[in-house]
Symmetry: C2
């Protein structure tokens, strides 16, 4: 099969054997995959991963120990846990000390014709969720994780700083949940594209402060903006990955007793359910779709600043 692989120096579309599922795993024939900033950061050397990239995907089960799974459209949690370490024991398999993550850590990912993943990680995709939607299950789950971690009071005013792909997904998820959201960004046209009509949009950090702020820019200046608009005793959620060290004046955080919450992967099942019910439709984020054989060009476009979601389709 074809697989887009990174060897630490070069990105190449290689011909490799179809992977063989281990015990407890299924073989998935991939349908579509999405390029994420984390993929681009791996290529820039910020993560030590080598192998087949890609962790946003939808596919069909090709081979499984449980026959009833074969032929099912699925997405999959990207984290595989050992179920034996202290974090797993404490009910936090996403923080398993020995975890692997598809296309990120210790496990080949989704920019290929097939991948293997534990059957326990599968989430079924209902017919009402198209492939173009389902490919957003992983990043939408990451957006929804914020609501899992922080106990927002009803009606609280929330600011999202950053209108890139992740900032927009977070904003969509918060608006759908009924929150009063202000998005600080540079691309008001993107909010229209996603049908977010109830949103307040600011092109610079507003004067007022918010009890809850989500930082989704991935830059120190964006972080500083976000910190400065967080109310005393407020909560600032750090959702981005950062390419460079974070550099900021921590005095407002200490003096105003702000709580900063780091946030990563989230509940895939809830992401699929929100899309299945029609509550959230992220497909307005799609900028272009390339066949796997043109995946090098796809990555090139994804690397252009300001590009929204680039998808790959598999043969």
């Amino acid at each position: 099969m074809q697989a887009l692989q990174w060897d630490g120096k070069e990105l190449q579309l290689n011909t490799v054997p179809v992977p063989v599922p281990d015990s407890g795993e299924v073989l998935v024939r991939l349908t579509k995959a999405g390029i994420c900033n984390t993929d681009l950061e791996i290529l820039r050397g910020y993560y030590p991963f080598q192998g087949t990239l890609g962790h946003e995907f939808v596919g069909v089960v090709e081979q499984a120990e449980d026959d009833t799974l074969v032929g099912k459209r699925i997405v999959s949690d990207i984290n595989s846990s050992c179920h034996q370490c202290a974090m797993c024991d404490a009910g936090n398999p996403h923080h398993c000390i020995n975890r692997t993550a598809l296309g990120i850590k210790g496990s080949d990912g989704a920019f290929a014709e097939f991948l293997t993943t534990p059957s326990a990680n599968l989430v079924m995709v209902p017919d009402t969720v198209s492939d173009d939607m389902a490919v957003f299950a992983e990043p939408l789950a990451a957006a929804l994780e914020i609501q899992e971690q922080v106990n927002f009071p009803a009606g609280v005013k929330i600011a999202v700083v950053g209108d890139g792909k992740l900032g927009l997904l977070i904003t969509l998820s918060l608006i759908q949940a009924g929150y009063d959201v202000t998005l600080v960004g540079h691309h008001p046209e993107r909010t229209e594209r996603l049908g977010m009509t109830t949103l307040k949009f600011c092109s610079t950090a507003p004067e007022r402060k918010f009890p809850v702020v989500i930082e989704a820019t991935g830059s120190s200046s964006g972080f500083t903006d976000a910190l400065n608009i967080t109310s005393p005793l407020g909560t600032l959620v750090l959702k981005s990955t950062y390419e460079a060290p974070l550099n900021f004046n921590p005095a407002p955080l200490v003096v105003n007793e702000i709580t900063l919450v780091g946030s990563r992967c989230g509940p895939m099942d809830k992401a699929v359910a929100r899309m299945a019910s029609g509550a959230i439709d992220p497909t307005g984020l799609i900028e272009a779709t390339y066949p796997l054989e043109k995946s090098l060009s796809a990555v090139e476009q994804a690397n252009v600043k300001g590009t929204l979601k680039i998808l790959l389709t598999m043969p």
Copy 2:
């Protein structure tokens, strides 16, 4: 009266009028005061304050609308609130938008013979608490604030990074509350001086991780050590003020979904109560005591790296 004053350029012991209390305020004759790192940071230009320095003190009420207060030994909350803004309305007067803070913001402080403070801010000092103890009420309250903010599970293992004045007070307060504390620092002799026999001491960041970590070094490298020893889903409390911008790789914070809690001033009444009961005795932190007239030399010694608490006594 004599007052140690900072005009933004120079520190001088000036002769100034005894302050006149406003309505609702008392006049306090100061007995002792402590030099805090925040005072030194004001002198280095990190805060815009000008006037009489000092916010750690004990004194005796000299003049008050309520006669029964006169002659009482007191400490005082350093924050004065407007009781009218949104933060005050919400029951958070320490985060009053219009607040002043003795010797830090908009209000003359305690390196003088007298100061004025709202009678509502007074905390009575019982006879069992000496002046040398009472002068620690403000920084001990700041240390206790951590237990007000974070809901520690019983028996949780806590690491404190930094064995300066604040780190040691935090450690004392946590040990007294029965927690299993590991102190990461460079001065094991200081823990003996404070009678902390149940403590674990490490001179470098330990290999193991802790569900709760307190960062009290005030440096980016100390912060990075603290972040690296915080368990996934753990809590890192940021207690220091920082002279320089904080610079660190935020990936562990995001990936491990760590909560970072900024922490400032705390409950003065609880600080006094813990000392009154004999539970906490911070007087082992005192390195030297100077008369107010030698306060310039006192500040000079306080500025020497590694110096513990320097006190001033008033005439």
